[in-house]
Symmetry: C2
Amino acid sequence: MSALGEFDLIRRYFTPSALPEHVVAGVGDDCAVLKIPAACELAISVDTQVCGVHFHADADPASIASRALRCAASDLAAMGAEPLGFTLALTLPAADENWLEKFSQGLLQTAQQLQCPLIGGDTTRGSLCITVQVHGSIPSGKALRRSGAKVGDAVWVSGTLGDGAAALALIENKIAVSQEAENYLLQRFYHPEIDFSLGVQLRGIASSCIDVSDGLLADLGHICSASGVGACIELEKLPIALEWRSSVSEQQAQHWALTGGDDYRLCFTASPQHATVLQSVHGVTCIGQIIEGAGVLVDGQTTIYKNGFRHF
Amino acid sequence: MSALGEFDLIRRYFTPSALPEHVVAGVGDDCAVLKIPAACELAISVDTQVCGVHFHADADPASIASRALRCAASDLAAMGAEPLGFTLALTLPAADENWLEKFSQGLLQTAQQLQCPLIGGDTTRGSLCITVQVHGSIPSGKALRRSGAKVGDAVWVSGTLGDGAAALALIENKIAVSQEAENYLLQRFYHPEIDFSLGVQLRGIASSCIDVSDGLLADLGHICSASGVGACIELEKLPIALEWRSSVSEQQAQHWALTGGDDYRLCFTASPQHATVLQSVHGVTCIGQIIEGAGVLVDGQTTIYKNGFRHF
């Protein structure tokens, strides 16, 4: 336990050196104050990561920080929002200066990469728990909702699926992979890329959108229930990274692609009229279509896969 | 442990029945989406309450909820902001339906009282920890900052001081008080009134403002360091509630009024030209003035009181 006080801790570790013009007040007043761009609405999302549940106690603090911010920012991308800034509510068992140094460096570096500055927060004592809330702007009425999918729309995903589950299996020593695959998976787990520009491109094109955090079946299921439709996806179309695909059975790879959480990719639907435009977008794959009914079919069959990660 | 899933839990307990027009998307999408009133900036503040640190495990869940929301909302009032909505990041050891029922009822009731609707959140498994983030609007450039106090300004507080510390002493069985005093103190501790209208009235009048959460000396000290000034307050002018004042020694009462946290009153400074207007405002008291120098003097003396509550 350190003699470092709460205010010193915030000043030393969590005060960014420079803030963009839209941040009227950052860390150090009762509230942070933001200017919202003209004709825009505010998108906000909050995400908590608990030590022992979402990350291991001995994980690299900079990686924990990167992951916490990126997981929260993923929801902004899924709404088609552009980042304005984030707050950090950090609960710590003790003010461990070595841990804080690495954590804050990872956090501020990630903030710079995402162009999403730290604007406020709270530090408290307790079991290690990290709550990040992100704030973004969207032109009024242009938010990508879960509820707009229509029968006949195509279902798309960005990037590859199953990386999060494969990475977790690796971290828990349940699979053995090549060094190249390990590097890839750890990068995907701790530093998932957040593609705000894809969300922005999808404004006016996607009829619905969600980020894949609970697993494809669960998250596409959320789109289906919010939209009052069903979906059918084709197993062989699921994009799975070549880096690790051959390290496990094909069935395991497909299972993770369908049900694994923590991918932080976008799953979205769009009318067939947009197919040509979307085929020219790098890294997106059409995996199925929206149908009448409810729930998600895989190759026309009701699935017996468990539906994603549940906390309770 | 219940069989209740995370999504059922959110649907059952944390979905308000009606939302005001400025909430474009509430609980149930990737992000909440808010319209910010025209010509306004966004004020945000986040506050975490940890079981065993900020409240006792066996406290009434509805009271825990009320306190968590009110403590966060206090920062909005201190900036002169009006509430738009809040998010809840709730970490729970188990989905205890009895606890959740009471907690969510207390939360939604408090939200209604404060006209600050629940617009989003996250639920995770872990040690009980409650993070509330509040969002409010302020006409552009009108936020009440900590940094504007000027030499010669008067120092004011709203309501009474020391209630939070006296309530904590009562809860921890360290003092005995009358039934009337007990009712008063428990009400003040779990349901501190948040006076958004006072913050709004102070726009253009207060040169600086803060809410008293860490204790008067600490919080007025924050104003002094942000403004590059000192302050001198008069001990006999501190407003202390008659309900409990005579239950403890006068020295104890003054000590709590100076250093006790959790009062959630406003401490603000204003030019003497506003004295007449402020004297007509109900429940505010002039307790001293801003002077050259640094730090807070009490009756002209440097204090040896410990400076408020520190987490580390």
